[in-house]
C-alpha cells in the first residue's frame, strides 16, 4: 500500500526527515510515535503534498505509484487522506457543500458518477448519526467556531465520507477529551478492514488504547529508530522517549 524508502525532506534548507524507511501493508494500521520536533508532522505533510517541503532524497509510493510526483488532489483521488492536526477554518464555505464538492471531485477523478445533493445528504446524515455527531455539523461553515474536539470529529466525518484507502491521522488526539477521543477512535475503527490502512501519528500512547495498531514505529530526529508490536507503545509510556532514543543510539 504505502512504501517509503530513504525519504529525506525539509523546509527552507532545514533537513527534518533524514532517511525514513516505512512500509504500511494493505489492511494494517501502523502508529508513528515520537517526541516533539522528531518530524512527525513533516512526514504527514510531505505524504499529503503540502507546498513548501522539499524532498531531497528517497521515494514514496502508494499502490506502486510515485506519490511524490502527484498533486495533493491527485493523492486524494488515489485514496490518501490526511486528518490534520490543526484543521483549517473556511469562513463562507458550508460544510455540506465542501464535503459534496470533495466527494464528487474524487468520484469524478475515479470515473464514478457524482452524487446529487439529495443522495449526498442522505449519506452524510447517516455517517453523522453513526459518528454520534450533532446534526448542525453540515450546516455550519467548515471548522468555523468549532471547538477543538468538533474540528477533529469533522476530520473523521470527512474521512468516513471520502472513504480513503490510507488515512494519515496527524496527532488527531491532541486537544481531545476522553469522550471525543473515543468517538474519533470509533470512527477510525469503523473504517478498519482489508481495504483500509492507517498511519496514526501521535505523541501519546493514550490514543493507541482505542485504536490498537498492528505495528508501532518510533520516530526520532527524522529517522525511524525502532519498530515493534503494540507493546512498544506501552514501553514508551513506561520509560519515556529518552529511554528508547538512548537505547537506539
Amino acid at each position: 500500500m504505502l512504501e517509503i524508502k530513504g525519504l529525506c525532506a525539509g523546509i527552507e534548507e532545514k533537513e527534518i526527515l533524514r532517511g525514513i524507511d516505512l512500509v504500511v501493508p494493505q489492511g494494517e494500521v501502523h502508529a508513528i510515535m515520537g517526541p516533539n520536533g522528531s518530524g512527525k508532522s513533516t512526514l504527514s505533510y510531505v505524504l499529503a503534498g503540502r507546498e513548501g517541503y522539499e524532498v531531497t532524497a528517497g521515494t514514496a509510493t502508494f499502490e506502486g505509484h510515485d506519490l511524490l510526483d502527484m498533486e495533493p488532489e491527485q493523492r486524494a483521488a488515489a485514496g490518501l487522506f490526511l486528518a490534520f492536526q490543526y484543521p483549517v477554518e473556511l469562513p463562507g464555505v458550508g460544510n455540506a457543500n465542501f464535503l459534496r464538492t470533495a466527494l464528487n471531485s474524487i468520484r469524478r477523478a475515479r470515473g464514478e458518477p457524482e452524487l446529487d445533493a439529495v443522495a449526498f445528504l442522505k449519506m452524510a446524515r447517516l455517517e453523522i448519526k453513526r459518528l454520534a455527531m450533532a446534526d448542525d455539523m453540515l450546516k455550519r461553515n467548515v471548522n468555523v467556531g468549532f471547538s477543538g474536539g468538533e474540528k477533529k470529529r469533522n476530520e473523521v466525518l470527512q474521512m468516513a465520507i471520502l472513504r480513503p484507502k490510507l488515512a494519515i491521522l496527524d496527532e488527531t488526539d491532541s486537544g481531545l477529551d476522553i469522550d471525543a477521543l473515543k468517538i474519533v477512535a470509533d470512527g477510525v475503527n469503523a473504517s478498519r478492514g482489508p481495504d483500509f490502512s492507517a498511519l496514526v501519528i501521535t505523541h501519546y500512547q493514550r490514543l493507541l488504547d482505542y485504536i490498537v495498531p498492528d505495528r508501532v514505529h518510533v520516530l526520532s530526529a527524522g529517522r525511524i529508530i525502532r519498530s515493534g508490536g503494540p507493546e512498544l507503545a506501552h514501553e514508551l509510556e513506561a520509560h519515556g522517549y529518552a529511554g528508547v532514543v538512548n537505547e537506539a543510539a
Binding site: 503534498g49 507546498e51 488532489e73 464555505v93 464538492t101 471531485s105 470527512q158
Partner: protein, 414 residues
Amino acid sequence: MSAIQPNALQLATTGFLARFEGNSGLRTDPIRRRAAETLRHIGLPTQREEAWHFTSLRPLAGIAFQGVHTTHDHGHDLLARMSGISGPRLVFVNGRHDTAVSEMPDFTTVGEPTLNEPDDAVSMLNTMFADDGAHIEIPPGVDAESILLVSLGVADGEPVAFHPRHRIQLHPGARLTLIDVSLGRGTYLNNPVFDIEVAEGATLVHLRLQDDATDAFHLSSVRANIAARGTYDSFALTLGARLARMEVHANLAGEHGAAHLNAAQLLGGVQHADFTTVVAHDAPSCASRQTVKNVLTGKSRGVFQGRIEVARIAQKTDGYQMNQALLLSPDAEIDSKPQLQIYADDVKCSHGATVGELDLDQLFYLRSRGISEPDARAILVRAFLAEALDPITHDQTRALMENAIEAWWQGRHI
C-alpha cells in the same frame, strides 16, 4: 513659438462641449447651460484633484461619442439574463426608454427629467445631456415590492454616450426594491444619475449589477437623501466596463436613518473600477455601513474611497467601513482611502482595510480533500464574496448576481 498641445482630458472635455453646443434642444436650458459652462471652465477632473487622485478619465479622450441614434440592434437578446427576475421592468436602450420590452410598473412615469444643480463631475456631465429617465414615486405606506431597471448599451458602430437621469422618491413608510442592471456591447459611455429621496420610515433597497461591455465606460452617481428612520440599503456588484466610477452620496438627514453602501468589484485584464462614497451624517443616531470587497486579477486596479462626514449635531453616529481586497495576480492593484471627518464627540466610527492573496493553508486543505486547484480557488473567492452577498434577501436578484459572478469566474481562468 510652439503651439500648446491640449492634453487628453482637455480633448475629452472639448468633445463633450462640442456635442452639447451642437444640440439646440439642450443648450438653451439654463441648468444644462450652467453645467456646461462649469465644465468649460474647470474641465473634467484631473488626478491632481483629491477626489480623482486614483482614477484618470484620460481614456475618454479621442473617442468621438455620439448622441444616441436609433440602432438596428436593440440588444434585446441581452435581456435573456434577466429572465429569472419577475415583476415589472423598465428597459432603457442607450438611455432611451424602450416600451416594447418594458412592463410599466405602478407609480412610474418616464420622460424628460427634472434637473437640479450638479455638484460632482459625473453628475455635471449627466445634467448637460440627460433627456430621459424613470421617475418612480411610491406613495406613503405602500410596499411596491420590486422594479427591475435595465440599461442596455448597444454600440454597433460609432461609440455612443447616454446619460439617463432617474428619480426615485419614496414617501413616508414606503418600500421598494430597485434592481438596477446595466449590460451592453460595443464602445459606449453609460453615465446615469439617480436622485433618490427616502422619506421618514421608508426603505429603498437598491441592488445594482454593473456588467457593462468590456470596452464601455461607466460613470454613475447616486445622490440619496434619507429622512428620519429611513433606510437606503444598497449593494453594487461591478464586473464590467474598462473604466468605471460609481459615486454614492448619501445624506442622513433625520434621526435613526441608515445607509448601507456595500459593493463588490471583480476585475481582470486592464479594468479600472472606482467605488467612491460620501456619507454625510447630518442628524443624530444614524448608522452607516460599508463593506467593499475587491477581487482583482490581471493588471486590474480597484479603488475604494469612503468619506464619512459627521456633523457636530450628529451625536450617537454609528459608522463602519471595511475594504477588503483579494489580489490574485502580482500586477493587480488596490487603492483604498478612508476619510473620517468627525465634528461630534459622541460617535462610534471605525474603518479598516485588508489586502491579501488566497490563503495557502486553506488552498492546501481543499486540495488535500481531492478538490482541484482551480476549483479550490473558486471556492475561496466565492467564500470571500459571501459576506457581501449574504445581505441580499431578494432571492431572484441574489441568483442573478451569483450567476454573473460564476460567468465572470468561468471567463477568467487564473
